[in-house]
């Protein structure tokens, strides 16, 4: 991997009463990468992102952009960031064009009218750019937000919950833009609580829960239909055989027992390729299997297995 364009080290935010809403969050983002910050609502994603862009003061930890520390030279760092924090917000009494001009003027390196035109074309707002923003649909605002964030040619794009309020078409378009940008070498950090989207959008995700980073996953690996693919499968057997079946599974270190449903179904986390072997194992042991059911898919099951079953399983073991 190339060097990190964004390097987050031990980020912590302590609010009043000494409670840490973000604790010990460290990750790196590489050039041209689309990195997802995934977690349920209230996991600290937004706080983390706002600490990176300087809207919220860090209690401790460091942020560096292309090797420059934010504390040492925040202006140099900030000019390399383009961001939409939560919803894109505009002066709705002005036209899209005038809104972009506002941001163009604030850019340290001058932004030419040509650049403005190019970016408007990229987000396909040519027809509406001179209309007042209050007439824009949410999707159009989102696109104008992307244009605004990219106007000063940042090397890092940060989007906080960008898919909020977007229709499926809008989401797909956004995904395509981000991919295009990634091909041009722009790195994107995007936060979301929607797994399926992150899976489609990102190269890699880091998962947060309760203010901490709990996992890091390369999406490509999840999508591979090779033997390494991890999935969650429910094996249904008879109530009177459940203890027997449980013992059998626990003897195998490759398979992890997540929990038991209704005293007759074992929910297991295992590699996809080993499903037939497990079934065979049950049959050979004389345990009757009534149903085998795949639970959830890829990132979603990973996410759930990480967050929902934390009390039952040790996170460290879950990491594959």
């Amino acid at each position: 991997m190339s060097e990190a364009v964004l390097d987050i080290q031990s980020l912590r935010k302590t609010v009043h009463k000494g409670k840490n809403i973000v604790e010990d969050v460290s990750f790196k983002m590489h050039k041209g990468e689309i990195l997802g910050l995934l977690g349920p609502n209230g996991a600290g994603k937004t706080t983390t992102i706002r600490m990176i862009v300087g809207l919220i003061k860090r209690s401790s930890g460091s942020v560096s952009i292309n090797g420059t520390d934010m504390d040492e030279d925040s202006q140099t760092c900030k000019r390399q960031i383009g961001a939409i924090v939560e919803n894109p917000a505009f002066y709705d009494y002005m036209s899209g064009w005038k809104n972009l001009q506002q941001h163009a003027r604030m850019a340290i390196d001058p932004v030419s009218d040509e650049r403005m035109q190019d970016i408007i074309k990229l987000v396909q707002l040519e027809d509406a750019i001179h209309d007042k923003v209050k007439k824009y649909s949410l999707g159009m605002k989102q696109r104008l937000g992307v244009a605004q964030a990219l106007l000063h040619q940042p090397s890092i794009l940060i989007l906080d919950e960008p898919t909020n309020g977007l229709d499926p078409k809008g989401i797909r378009e956004l995904r395509d833009y981000l991919r295009e940008l990634a091909d041009q070498g722009i790195s994107t950090l995007v936060s979301s609580h929607l797994l399926s989207e992150m899976q489609l959008m990102c190269d890699r995700v880091v998962i947060m829960e309760k203010g901490r980073l709990i996992d890091e996953t390369v999406i490509g690996e999840l999508d591979q239909s090779d033997e390494q693919k991890v999935c969650i499968v429910a094996f249904q057997c008879r109530v009177d055989q459940i203890q027997e079946a449980k013992a059998l599974i626990e003897a195998d270190s490759e398979i992890e027992l997540l929990h038991i449903e209704k005293e007759q179904t074992l929910v297991l986390k295992l590699h996809e390729a080993t499903i037939p072997d497990v079934n065979k194992k049950f049959v050979e042991a004389g345990i009757d299997i009534y149903a085998i059911e795949r639970k959830k898919t890829t990132l979603e099951e990973k996410f759930l297995s990480l967050t929902n079953t934390r009390n039952m399983t040790d996170i460290k073991e879950v990491q594959s």
Partner: protein
């Protein structure tokens, strides 16, 4: 910094509200001019050669009141004042019915300017808080400028707005005054009645520039207070409310002046000092309290307000 002020200025004048404020000042000035011409200034009387006789008749009436033993104390005082005023006018040959654009400007400026104070309070209270409420503030703060520059630009813009309205007021007032009431000069003599000392003779040139200059300082103070309150209390409504309260409060304070003038603390409250334009026609607003002292007290308050609001804004976490 210039860029930020330019941006703020464009945003301010892109709002309909701002234009309505300016238009209002223009229209009310014209309206007042017609009102004065038809109701207050008796244009027929102005050409009447018998004005001296009228004044003398009035003196005679007032003398009767003074001679009347049943007359109340206030009636006697009032009569005395009127007699003095009339005698003075007779002595210096001022026709009280005679009017021109200078007298009109001198007499209407305080009333018309109070609308500018009101509009300035509204703009000052909303220029920061509306951007926080609309979510556009966070998209400013992620740009490579220190935070204090953004609010400094906003404060300067608000002051610019007030000055513009003052210019609109002065220009429109002179124009309409000239058209309706004819040309006068700065040396036009006027009677100054400040309800404390005996009425005395002065000229427009002596009173008006001082009135306008002191008004600018006064409105600046209003801006600083509303601006700071809106930031410190994160509430546009509260700031407008407090601004308007102070606006009327200064009038109310004047009635407290007599009651509280003897207390040692009253002169350190900013409220009585917020009627700076009064100094155009009198030397002290409270016994022993002159212009220099008032400006000193207000400066201290201004520094405290601004210090608190800049410190707060610089450290604030934008979490919502």
């Amino acid at each position: 910094m210039i860029t930020l002020i330019q941006n703020e200025w464009i945003k301010l004048w892109s709002k309909k509200r701002t234009w309505i404020f300016a238009l209002f000042i223009l229209l009310i000035t014209i309206g007042i001019a017609f009102f004065f011409k038809s109701v207050i200034f008796d244009m027929d009387a102005a050409n009447d050669e018998n004005w001296e006789q009228d004044l003398e008749e009035e003196i005679a009436v007032q003398e009767e009141i003074m001679a009347d033993e049943d007359a109340d104390e206030w009636q006697v005082e009032n009569a005395q004042m009127t007699i003095q005023q009339n005698e003075e006018m007779l002595a210096s040959g001022i026709n009280p019915n005679k009017t021109n654009n200078m007298i009109f400007l001198e007499e209407t400026f305080p009333f018309l300017a109070s609308f500018i104070t009101l509009f300035s309070v509204i703009v000052a209270s909303s220029i920061v808080s509306s951007e926080i409420d609309d979510g556009t503030m966070k998209h400013l703060l992620i740009r490579p400028y220190p935070r204090w520059k953004f609010i400094t630009a906003k404060l300067i813009t608000t002051v610019g707005f007030s000055l513009s309205l003052i210019v609109v007021l002065l220009v429109s007032n002179l124009l309409i005054g000239t058209i309706l009431l004819g040309t006068g000069s700065l040396s036009t003599e006027i009677m100054v009645n400040n309800f404390e000392t005996t009425p005395y003779l002065s000229t427009v040139g002596e009173v008006l520039p001082a009135r306008v200059g002191l008004y600018v300082l006064n409105v600046l103070m209003f801006i600083i207070i509303s601006f700071s309150v809106s930031i410190l209390f994160r509430s546009q409504t509260l700031a407008v409310g407090i601004g308007i309260f102070i606006l009327f409060g200064t009038n109310i304070a004047q009635s407290f002046n007599v009651l509280l003038a003897d207390t040692s603390w009253y002169q350190y409250i900013f409220l009585p000092h917020l009627s700076l334009p009064e100094y155009a026609i009198r030397d002290e607003i409270l016994p022993g309290v002159g212009l220099a002292f008032s400006i000193m007290v207000l400066s201290v308050y201004a520094l405290v307000f601004l210090g608190a609001c800049f410190t707060y804004f610089q450290r604030k976490d934008f979490a919502e």
